[in-house]
Amino acid sequence: MSIAVFEKHPLIRYLRDPGSAVAFSASDWERLFRAARHGYLLSRVAWLAKRDQFWEHLPKKIQFHLKSAFRVAESQATSVNWEVVQIHKALSESNIPFVLLKGAAYIKDQFAPAQGRLLSDVDILVPKDRLTEAEKALYSHGWFPTKLDAYDQRYYREWMHELPPMQHLGRGTTLDVHHTILPPTALLKPDVEKLWSDVCAIENTKDLFVLSPVDMVLHSATHLFHDGELEHGLRDLVDIDALIGQFSRQDQFFQRLITRADELDLGRPLYYALKYCRGFLRTPVPDDIFLRVSAYNNRSMAIRSLMELVVLESIGSVLKDQPSVTTHASQFAMYVRSHYLRMPLRLLLPHLLRKQFISDRSH
């Protein structure tokens, strides 16, 4: 399988060249909507139609749906901004600095992926030595751990790079508090201190930050290829594509990106991100840059082919009109892989076995 299988999909055609949509048939639109709803991208699709000013040329019914999707993103942006104000209020009382990550960062500080970006939770990074204090401060402002059993609580605290997810009692919003970007047990060892040394303060604040532009791209890549189950894979590629589109106008951006990836031990996730952004979305990455980053792809041929297959299946799963057995298998493979990258086998096997058999009981 290669990326070519997905190239004809209307959503991929649209993301590469939104204006091509004026020639879409009804069934093209149906396939686009199905994939975009599945992949949390419909609001982005709507925003692109507005940005490129062909909205008026679309069929009435399509305009209806895009308008509807646009409203969802607008309301989420409002609520995320409010959420950030509340988190800031809770943490600043104890003088705890924090970094907004991913969706919340894009939306709060108006980075390119913000427009039409949907999100299910807010992610923040706090210094590890302030973690317990941060947890207490958040408790006292209404955030509580979601219902997790003792095993899950211990699993998060011992092996993960974040606290168990918290939910606000009043607003029902979810908050993930991280102290680093990969679990301490992971194979890659990015140094979180280095991220902190480059953070940028959000206007008018002293203790509310976002990652530096290169680190923002690297974090998104790391999250996508080493931390997740690729369920929002295409959406995450769209984020990275938009960030690159915005930052590549800066002086020497790509050179700095590679140097930084090397410093942080994140060369491989960067390679995957650039490879699949180019493949799926035609992100303009200069050839010489891509060639240099390819040096990080130093795995054996067999591993490389397997990775290619599994990534294409997982990211491409939202583009399939019917889910297939290979999709489920690949998603499971990515799930296992993401855990394998995060923890050694002696920890991983008992964990996966437990998740496989215990989680079924709750049904």
Partner: protein
């Protein structure tokens, strides 16, 4: 009108039905769904070939094993399954509930109020109400008395023109209401009664053909009435304040948090142009004559 071979379409590429402003493609091999659709959607128009289908939904058995053992039904929308499976007997009801969910979560060109809506002489009536307030029963009785059904579950008020856009579908009746409506009207068509759902016994009433045929004609809001069924009570109509009505309408609006200011303005306009009332009733005919314009 539905084609004769509904089952073949449902099992194949899907049965494409026009339901109010939406074209919905439904796929299912489950006999409960085939019977329900054949029986209760008989008068609905089929979408034209080449029309854009708004929502694709699928009702199916979760696993081959489940076809034989503790049979279940699952609902998917564009390949996503928002719910846990239900017992197989509730298949048709799950289609109705699932479609409510799809519309409430995706059609933000409307303020969608949890309410029954009917029309007579060009006047749109909205009956918001908590479950158990008797709004569906009242709605069914009105519809059986010649009023036009706009919706029994969700009043869709357009953010663009402020009108109630009809989405007439089978009317959901619960528990005692099923018998009340059977007795109320001789020629009412009611589908299979499904026992022991989360809402008790549930059955659906076929919407009148006249309402289905005029589903593309919106109605202007004329009255917002909060009904309460109370055994042996005298029919009692009371005026309530517009401010209070707006607050209660907002509470009952599924997508109010998403719509923001546009939603507030839409509901405020609807309230502004409407009479606002509460209605306590026990006798259906009495209640209906009180509502007559």
């Amino acid at each position: 009108m539905l084609p004769g071979d509904v089952a073949r379409y449902l099992a194949g590429s899907g049965l494409n039905v026009t339901i109010g402003p939406f074209d919905v493609s439904l796929r299912s091999r489950l006999p409960q769904v085939i019977r329900g659709v054949t029986h209760l959607y008989a008068d609905f128009p089929i979408s034209s070939v080449g029309d854009f289908i708004d929502y694709h939904v699928d009702l199916f058995s979760p696993s081959p094993l489940r076809r034989w053992f503790r049979q279940q039904v699952n609902f998917s929308f564009d390949g996503v399954r928002p719910f846990k499976p239900l017992p197989l007997a509730q298949s048709f009801a799950m289609f109705e509930w699932g479609l409510n969910w799809v519309v409430a979560n995706n059609a933000h060109q409307f303020a969608i109020v949890h309410a029954a809506a009917v029309e007579k002489d060009g006047r749109g009536f909205i009956f918001p109400g908590a479950p158990g307030s008797g709004k569906s029963t009242l709605c069914a009785a009105l519809v059986c008395s010649g009023w036009r059904l706009l919706s029994d579950e969700m009043a869709m008020i357009s953010l663009t023109d402020g009108l109630i856009w009809p989405i007439p579908r089978p009317v959901s009746l619960k528990n005692a209401s099923i018998e009340i409506i059977r007795k109320f009207s001789a020629d009412v068509v009611i589908g299979e009664v499904v026992a022991d759902t989360a809402k008790g016994n549930v059955a659906h009433m076929r919407p009148p053909k006249a309402s289905v045929v005029s589903a593309k004609i919106p109605a202007a809001p004329f009255a917002i009435v909060f009904p309460t069924y109370r055994a042996n009570a005298e029919t009692h109509f009371a005026e309530i304040s517009k401010g209070h009505t707006l607050m209660r309408l907002a509470e009952n609006c599924f997508n109010y948090p998403i719509l923001g200011a546009a939603g507030f303005n839409c509901l405020a306009d609807a309230v502004e142009q409407s009479r606002c009332n509460t209605l306590v009733y026990s006798d259906m005919n009495d209640a209906i004559s009180a509502l007559e314009p």
